[in-house]
Amino acid sequence: MDYEFAYSFKKPQLTNNWILDMNPLSKLNLLIILFIIPITVQSWKWNVMIIIFYFLVALVAGCFKRFTRLYLRFGLMVGLLLFVLRALFIPGENLLYKLWFINITQEGVDSGLQFSTLVVAICGAIILYSIVTRAKDFMYMIEKLGASRVISYVILSSFQSIIDLGEMSKVILDSQRARGIETEGNIRQRIKAFIPILGPLFLGAISNAEEKAIAMDARAFSMPIKNTHLCHLRSLPVGEKAILIAANIAFIGFVVWRLMA
């Protein structure tokens, strides 16, 4: 028996990385600040600085690889596209290049740079938050704020359902292939294969949901009392509280200053 593991639940679940261990709501607070700054500043240089800052945070939090993979993909797919669209299509006075019926203008390029860095900077806050915060910790805090365990359950089991149904769809694909349904043929055949895959997936999932409802009920899921938690988070350390207060005051000061200017 691994008592060390079993008794580890007595203590708060810590990773010993101060960013990861920060309270989910503190992190949320800080990232909301980072979310709003680009909107108030409206300068692509600031946006770039904030974007670089996200990478640093990810590095310190030890999630550099995971964050970079997600963020780069987003930057390339969405950020780049937003830039290109504006550069190509926004009309203006200063023509840089003419291509068939498309006019690339200085105004377009400027607006593209401004807008795409803004979107990437804002979205970085959300992506970073999803990387440095575990869903179950976030839900724990939401429950502490008074939400019912049903809400946590629905959100957390959505994640697992995506995995489970993904696995299930592979099995179903196999079973329909085995039956003779062509899934690699021409487009008509492939369209025809959609219902035979989605049908059993959805119908099976519903009957599983029925069983799950019963199974969870058997485990007192419908108990009308407040539940306890095996895993808990530590209460806010003084240092973290201080950082939060300082950051919020600085932020409000900053916004006021920008509005005055």
């Binding site: 028996m1 691994d2 008592y3 593991f5 079993a6 008794y7 639940f9 007595k10 179950k136 365990r149 946590s152 359950y153 957390l156 089991s157 697992q160 359902s161 995995i163 489970d164 599983n208 069983e211 799950k212 409802a213 019963i214 199974a215 969870m216 009920d217 058997a218 485990r219 007192a220 899921f221 419908s222 108990m223 009308p224 009392i225 407040k226 539940n227 306890t228 938690h229 095996l230 895993c231 808990h232």
Partner: protein
């Protein structure tokens, strides 16, 4: 003393044209293991749903007669009260895992969280169950990645940790291989030794013969026969009605037909061996 009592109970599922249970009267006593057998659609699972209160609390439909749990009508029990009184385990190992916990240890403790048990007690009780069911190797694993047999053992642990006096177990092994089946039956055996009241639906009559105190045969929504395993499972006429009996019981009948001495029809392997050896000696 009767613990669970059914008085002239009939039940029809919504939209169904037939009664799933039809005028069933029986009383279950405390601390016994009831083996429930019968052909499919005989009413076994309906009985489980009824005793656990899923009928009428989850399934609608028409319920007549009375189901009394500890003397109180099932309709008067709140559903959540029943979840603290009666444990329920069923065949599909996959839908019994919550899907929201990352380790088996947390999965097992989930029911205690819902009951509002405080953390220290929760940890102790979970440890106890883990040790009791020999799940030590699994506690750190993700319950969503386990095999069917492992999941079923975790499902048992997740219910046992809640410490019910009554357990309703519906075909727990029908999706498992023989070695997992043996593990599950070891668990059921341990529960029986703890004097839990158990209603066990199971197709594998060999196992019912081994473990049950009483056997109920369901047929077309009614209790066709009931009695001790030795009485019921030795009856050859059950076969003709589509209900299996242990192969050693059939062996006993065939030996009798060949005029070989048999004091009684065996229902377990050890009884069969004993009978054969004794019969042989008597003949000698």
């Amino acid at each position: 003393m009767s613990y669970i009592e059914l008085k002239q109970v009939s039940y029809q599922y919504p939209l169904a044209s037939e009664w799933a249970l039809n005028d069933v009267t029986y009383s279950f006593e405390k601390g016994k293991l009831y083996g429930i057998i019968g052909a499919n659609r005989g009413g076994k699972t309906t009985l489980c749903n009824l005793v656990r209160g899923f009928i009428p609390h989850f399934y609608q439909g028409e319920l007549m007669g009375q189901v009394l749990i500890e003397g109180k009508d099932i309709r008067e029990w709140e559903n959540h009260q029943l979840s603290t009184e009666i444990g329920y385990i069923f065949q599909n190992p996959f839908s019994q895992i919550s899907g929201v916990k990352e380790t088996v240890f947390e999965e097992i403790a989930l029911g205690l969280e819902n009951l509002g048990v405080d953390k220290d007690e929760m940890i102790e009780r979970t440890i106890q169950v883990v040790k009791w069911l020999k799940l030590e190797d699994l506690i750190k694993k993700n319950p969503n990645n386990l095999s069917g047999g492992q999941r079923q053992r975790v499902a048992f642990a997740s219910i046992i940790v809640m410490n019910h006096d009554i357990l309703v177990i519906d075909e727990p092994t029908s999706q498992l291989d023989p070695s997992s089946t043996a593990e599950v039956f070891e668990i059921i055996h341990m529960l029986k030794e703890q004097k839990k009241t158990i209603l066990l639906v199971e197709h594998k009559v060999e196992l019912i013969a081994e473990y049950a105190d009483e056997v109920l045969v369901f047929e077309k929504g009614q209790i066709a026969s009931y009695g001790s395993p030795a009485d019921i499972l030795s009856r050859k006429d059950l076969m003709e009605r589509g209900i299996s009996i242990p192969s050693v019981a059939l062996l006993g009948h065939e030996m009798r037909e060949k005029n070989m001495a048999m004091d009684s029809i065996p229902i377990t392997k050890s009884q069969a061996l004993e009978q054969i050896l004794k019969g042989g000696k008597n003949d000698d």
